[in-house]
């Protein structure tokens, strides 16, 4: 049974149909990379997966349970789904360590020492233990994103969603963030990653999905996707991004 399964998912904003009949599944421990042109609905799909957007139709099955039914506990579900945004969205009025420990303390009701101890381990892991006491404003974009990853991990999620985590970064800062994500993948974290970093997709992904105009156009292994794409739109997109 897949950890997460999406069936015939649709999302409309008013009259604009952004997701049209999306089907996909993510196995536990799998790294799924979503690629596709801007505006194709990648962010919307990812946001549907933790219900920041409510789908207009279809099903999302998590651990065998449809998360779109009324009785489903959205908050508990979101605690097990970590999300990293393009713009980090750190809480600017809290220090780095407070950003990381805030949710464990207030949601999981962890005591402060335990939360801080765990938080420091996570900051260590993303290479920012020395920045624990500073405010996010003093950090570079790459550092902020790594704090955001630590913050999400502090909730001990079962799956991590990344929406273009490196798109807002200066090129020289991208590597540090991707390395942290690579490490996570190696540890067996289930991940869904929207990215334009084709190198990352090739090396780390178990499966790559190409989306265009609200459809999943192609869903295959990275080797298949990058050496032998089937669909013309996939070919056209890949030739454009790979030859840049």
């Amino acid at each position: 049974m897949p950890l997460l399964e999406v069936k015939k998912l649709q999302k409309k904003f008013g009259d604009l149909q952004v997701l049209k009949n999306i089907n996909l599944s993510i196995e536990e421990g799998e790294v799924l990379v979503l690629i596709g042109p801007s505006g194709s609905g990648k962010s919307t799909l990812l946001r549907c997966l933790n219900l920041l957007e409510v789908p207009t139709d279809g099903e999302i099955i998590y651990n065998g349970e449809n998360i779109l039914t009324h009785k489903f506990n959205v908050r508990t579900y979101r605690q097990s789904v970590g999300m990293c945004f393009q713009n980090f969205n750190l809480f600017p009025f809290m220090t780095v360590i407070d950003n990381v420990t805030y949710a464990p303390i207030h949601i999981l009701k962890k005591n402060k020492e335990d939360a801080v101890e765990k938080g420091m381990q996570l900051l260590q892991k993303v290479g920012l233990a020395d920045k624990a006491k500073v405010y996010p404003e003093t950090l570079s974009g790459g550092q902020r994103q790594r704090v955001a990853i630590a913050r999400a991990l502090a909730m001990e999620p079962k799956i991590m969603l990344f929406d273009e985590p490196t798109s807002a970064l200066d090129p020289e800062l991208v590597g540090d963030v991707l390395n942290v994500m690579r490490e996570l993948a190696d540890e067996g974290m289930t991940m869904a990653v929207v990215t334009h970093e084709m190198g990352f997709a090739k090396d780390v992904a178990d499966r790559v999905i190409f989306m265009d105009s609200g459809y999943v156009v192609e869903d295959s292994s990275p080797a298949e996707m990058f050496t032998n794409p089937k669909n013309d739109r996939t070919k056209e997109f890949l030739s454009r991004v790979l030859n840049k």
């Binding site: 508990t76 750190l90 809480f91 809290m94 805030y102 949601i107 404003e137 999400a152």
Partner: protein, 238 residues
């Protein structure tokens, strides 16, 4: 210039200043503190009503705000002081309580008037501060597993409040000065006290100069203190 030769500041200072710094100061300070806290709480409630998704509530609050902004504070105070008690008495007699007398203290009326009036303006400050917080903040909180209300109260509103503090400070200084309007509803604040003193002594120039000086002596340090507080709060902001 006979008038200038007859100026007697020392007399006015010795006699008037203790009055101003006694009972009158007490009234001004209490009215401002209580009135301002009331204004913030009230403004906050209005702002929450305005950012809520309930259309009917939005409209009621907008109507109320227009009503407050379209009438002078002085008229509002006079209304609360003289007219409200009558309404309450009429209402009491309608529900069958006869001979019910209401007396509204001038300070109470002042506090209510200032609180409602300033709260209305402050609500707009808080509202725009709330909507100017990046949507990503709320989403990050939701994604971590906070409820909507928690995301609002723990993440969005603390930032909105912090951003509003400089404006709050300006309103606080304005409120100190607007307590002078309470002279019209018989409160023995600075203006009323000074007026009474001039009526007895005819030391008009001296008294009102002292009065102006007292306001300055309060408002300038207050504005300064607020600026320091603001700088403190600015630490750790993006």
């Amino acid at each position: 210039m006979k008038v200038l030769e007859n100026l007697n500041f020392s007399k006015a200072i010795i006699e008037l200043l203790p009055k101003l710094l006694g009972e009158a100061l007490h009234i001004v300070v209490i009215t401002t503190i209580v009135g301002f806290l009331f204004a913030i709480v009230f403004g906050f409630i209005l702002a929450l009503g305005r950012v809520s998704k309930k259309k009917a509530l939005n409209h009621i609050i907008i109507l109320f705000q227009e009503f407050i902004r379209g009438t002078p504070l002085l008229v509002q105070m006079v209304y609360i002081y003289y007219v409200m008690p009558l309404f309450i008495e009429i209402f009491a007699s309608i529900i069958g309580i006869s001979g019910f007398k209401v007396s509204m203290g001038s300070m109470t009326a002042g506090i209510i008037g200032l609180g409602i009036n300033y709260g209305t303006y402050i609500s707009e400050v808080i509202r725009s501060a709330i909507i100017s917080i990046d949507k990503g903040q709320k989403e990050a909180a939701l994604a971590l597993g906070f409820s909507n209300a928690q995301a609002m109260f723990k993440i969005v509103i603390p930032q909105a409040f912090r951003n509003s503090v400089p404006v709050f400070g300006n309103y606080l200084v304005m409120m100190v000065k607007d307590t002078s309007l309470m002279a019209y509803i018989t409160a023995q604040e600075f203006l009323m006290t000074t007026k009474a003193y001039t009526a007895q002594t005819f030391l008009t120039i001296e008294s009102y100069t002292i009065l102006a000086g007292v306001y300055l002596a309060i408002c300038i340090p207050l504005a300064f203190a607020i600026r320091i507080l603001e700088r403190r709060l600015n630490r750790g902001r993006r």
